[in-house]
């Protein structure tokens, strides 16, 4: 069940990322919905889920881009594990705290990526701080929407069902 949920989260985030990439491409802003999905899985289902989501999500992104396959996978695996461990140690329940975890994870993920490419290329790649800041903020907005939807959607559905049931009962009277 947990594995299925993690895989489903990942599939949704990869598909959303493919659609978002169309609009973010070449623009000054960028968002990484796969990373948001990885952190989401890590927070909800723990570090092992973070590792699984990070590995699969990162490798999928690597395969779809022209980069070295494994770099994104390793970065997302480490980020997923760290986010999952943090969420397990300090019970992260409030949406603001979860969004903060996503923001820190975005910066950490970018740092790991830059570090790995610096190791591979033997030179520091160009780093745009404004792009990192933009990505962090956009990821935070996407994460907030995802967490709020997860928290509020089941309640809203049950309330709407209850309202429908009571209106049917009133009509029967």
């Amino acid at each position: 069940m947990k594995t299925t949920a993690v895989l489903l989260t990942l599939v949704v985030s990869v598909l959303l990322q493919l659609v978002a990439a169309r609009y973010a491409f070449g623009a000054a802003w960028h968002l990484d919905l796969v990373l948001v999905g990885v952190v989401y899985a890590a927070i909800y289902w723990g570090p092992a889920a973070g590792i699984l989501a990070g590995t699969l999500g990162g490798l999928t992104q690597d395969l779809l881009s022209s980069g070295i396959v494994g770099v994104g996978g390793l970065a997302k695996t480490l980020t997923g594990f760290a986010a999952g461990t943090f969420a397990a140690q300090f019970i992260v329940v409030r949406p603001q705290a979860r969004v903060l975890v996503v923001m820190v994870a975005t910066v950490a993920h970018r740092a790991v990526m830059v570090g790995l490419y610096a190791l591979i290329d033997q030179r520091w790649p160009a780093v745009s701080w404004s792009a990192i800041l933009g990505e962090t903020l956009l990821n935070a907005v996407a994460a907030l929407a995802a967490f709020q939807a997860t928290e509020l959607l089941p309640g809203a559905i049950s309330r709407s069902r209850q309202a429908r049931r009571s209106s049917i009962r009133r009509r029967q009277w």
Binding site: F25, H30, I51, T60, G67, V69, I120
Partner: protein, 292 residues
């Protein structure tokens, strides 16, 4: 609890080791593993096509049925722009006729025309580090590795890796590891334009400090790389400073708006390598996948 933590750590260690091995294989070989790239790319090309169509459908529905507020105003502006362009075109034609007459008189070699094939961009790179797009043309249409990709405004990039029958991955000039042989039109200096430089995303290397390069100078393809035909716009110099070594530090704003790539042109016939001047320093070989 302790056992679970140990299991998770073991999993992390195994997975990380797997990734490191995977990276090592690619970095060592540099030529890349064809199966590793081709098989997943083939599988994902269909998915990218579908998401591309879905995204296109949404934006199409939005643009054609909902967001029509500014269409009349835009139409009027376009008519005005068309009139201006027609006038400008007449001027350009007159200049071209004069140039052709001069060429004939001086017995200059005619620039080879290039055969192109229109292709639609169906998917965009989902990561921010390597800028690639997928086009809906492949080997069945005559598309091959390292073929140049152009847009109306100038150079877009080149075909990467292993194109499929009806899809190919294009490395954009602004991406990491991308590059092109270039020439500065005004000062007649040659060098190499490389992507991934931040903002602006292009930088030009190997131009001597002795050359008087200024902001606003046009940068064109030189044709020396054997990929891009000569004379196509790459961009405009935004900043040119004296470098610490022998060469100038030049930043270039690309001619193409990469955020609005819809239809591109694939140069089907490969350009013959232009003769290289003896005094131009040789650029180093590209590193990693997709380097020139």
């Amino acid at each position: 609890m302790f056992a679970t933590r140990r299991r998770t750590l073991s999993l992390l260690l195994i997975v990380s080791l797997g990734h490191v091995l995977l990276i090592s294989v690619q970095v060592q070989s540099k030529t890349g593993a064809p199966m590793l790239e081709a098989v997943p790319f083939a599988a994902f090309a269909q998915l990218q096509r579908a998401t591309g169509a879905f995204g296109g459908g949404i934006s199409g529905a939005w643009n054609h049925y909902i967001a029509l507020g500014g269409v009349a105003r835009e139409n009027e502006a376009l008519h005005r722009r068309l009139t201006e362009l027609e006038t400008a075109l007449q001027g350009e034609q007159a200049v071209a006729n004069t140039a052709r007459a001069l060429e004939g008189a001086l017995d200059l070699q005619q620039t080879l025309p290039v055969t192109t094939l229109a292709a639609r961009v169906i998917a965009f790179d989902p990561s921010a580090d390597f800028l690639t797009v997928t086009i809906d043309r492949g080997t069945a249409d005559g598309v091959g590795v390292d073929m140049a990709i152009l847009a109306a405004q100038g150079v877009v990039g080149k075909v990467l890796g292993h194109p499929l029958a009806h899809a190919a991955q294009v490395q954009l000039l602004i991406g990491r590891n991308a590059g092109a042989g270039a020439t500065l039109e005004r000062v007649d200096a040659e060098g190499v334009v490389k992507g991934g430089a931040g903002s602006p995303p292009l930088e030009m290397s190997y131009v001597s400090n002795a050359k008087d390069v200024k902001a606003g100078d046009r940068v064109l393809t030189s044709g020396h790389d054997g990929i891009f035909p000569p004379g196509f716009p790459i961009g405009v110099v935004e900043k040119a400073e004296r470098g610490s070594g022998m060469f100038r530090s030049i930043r270039i704003r690309p001619a193409v708006d990469f955020s609005h790539l819809g239809v591109v042109l694939v140069v089907i016939d490969r350009p013959a390598k232009a003769a290289k001047p003896a005094d131009t320093p040789a650029p180093p070989a590209g590193r990693g996948r997709g380097g020139l």
